[in-house]
Symmetry: C2
DNA sequence: TTGCGTGCAAAGGTTTTGCATGGCA
DNA sequence: TGCCATGCAAAACCTTTGCACGCAA
C-alpha cells in the first residue's frame, strides 16, 4: 500500500516523444490524437488526457487556455529553452507565441515581489492579446 | 426590415441590476441563475447567457476566462470604477485569485503596445506565481 | 400587429469517470 | 502476481441552437 509507482508504457513514451519533437508548438489533444491515428498508432484520447494532466501536475508541461469553449493547448517545458529571463506573449487571433525579452518587463517581477508580495513564475505566465500582424 | 430594435424586458432589467449590485465581483452564470431561483424570480439560463453575451459585445461587461475548463466570469464595467483596468494574479499553490490594481502594472500594457506592438488583453492575462501566504 | 425576447429541450463540443481488460515490474 | 495503465463507452459539464410561445412597442 502507498506505493503509487508509475509504470513506463509505450503510450507514454510515444506521447512524450511527440511533445518533445514539437516543443516549440502549442498542441491540442486532437492534434496529438490525429498524429497517432495517421501514424497507425492506436492511442486512446483518454490516455492522452490523463498523461498530459499528470505531466502538468509534475510541472513538465504547461497548459494554456486561449479561448473559452475551445480545447486547451499543451507544451513541454524544456530545460534551457524557456528560462526565467523572458516573458511569453500569445496572440489570441493567430495563435502565435512570442518570446519577449525586455528589461522593462523584468521589472514587473520585481515590482510584484516588492509591492505585492507575489513571486511571479515566468514560465507559467503568458500575456494574451493581439499581435502586430493581427491588429 | 433591418430594424433590429432592442426591447426592454423585466429579465434584462433584473439581470442588469444584479450585475450593478455586484459590480465588484466576478459572477458566473450559475451564480446569477441561483440568485434568481432563490428569489423566486424565474429566469432561464439561456436568457442570462444571451443577454450577458450581448452586453459583452456592447462593451458594457467584461468576460473573464481565468479558471481552467471552468465556466466564464462576467463583470459590469462601471464608469469611474477602477475595476475596469486591473490584472489578475493567481497563486499556483493555494489557487487564490488576487485582483491587482496598480498604476505601475498598467504601464506594462503601454510598454508592450509602444515597444512590442502587442495589445494586451487584461481579461485573459493572469500572472501565475506564489502569493504571500504560501511563500 | 410586428418582430424581438424568452425559455424549454435538445444538440454541440470538451473533458472526466466507470469499469473491464491489458501490460509493466 | 499485484497494480497501475489503457481505452471504450457513458456521463458530466458548459454553452449554443431550434422552435414555439410571450410580450414590448
Amino acid at each position: 500500500m502507498g506505493q503509487n509507482t508509475e509504470y513506463k508504457t509505450k503510450q507514454k513514451e510515444a506521447i512524450y516523444n511527440y511533445l518533445l519533437e514539437h516543443k516549440e508548438k502549442h498542441l491540442t489533444i486532437d492534434e496529438i490524437l490525429e498524429y497517432f491515428l495517421s501514424a497507425n498508432q492506436k492511442i486512446g484520447r483518454t490516455t492522452i488526457y490523463r498523461y498530459l494532466e499528470k505531466l502538468v501536475e509534475k510541472g513538465e508541461v504547461r497548459k494554456y487556455f486561449i479561448e473559452e469553449g475551445v480545447s486547451a493547448c499543451y507544451q513541454l517545458i524544456t530545460k534551457g529553452s524557456c528560462c526565467s529571463e523572458h516573458f511569453h506573449a500569445k496572440c489570441t487571433k493567430c495563435g502565435t507565441l512570442y518570446h519577449v525579452e525586455c528589461s522593462s518587463l523584468l521589472q514587473i517581477g520585481e515590482h510584484l515581489r516588492e509591492h505585492h508580495n507575489f513571486i511571479i513564475d515566468h514560465t507559467k505566465t503568458v500575456f494574451y492579446g493581439i499581435c502586430e500582424k493581427c491588429q
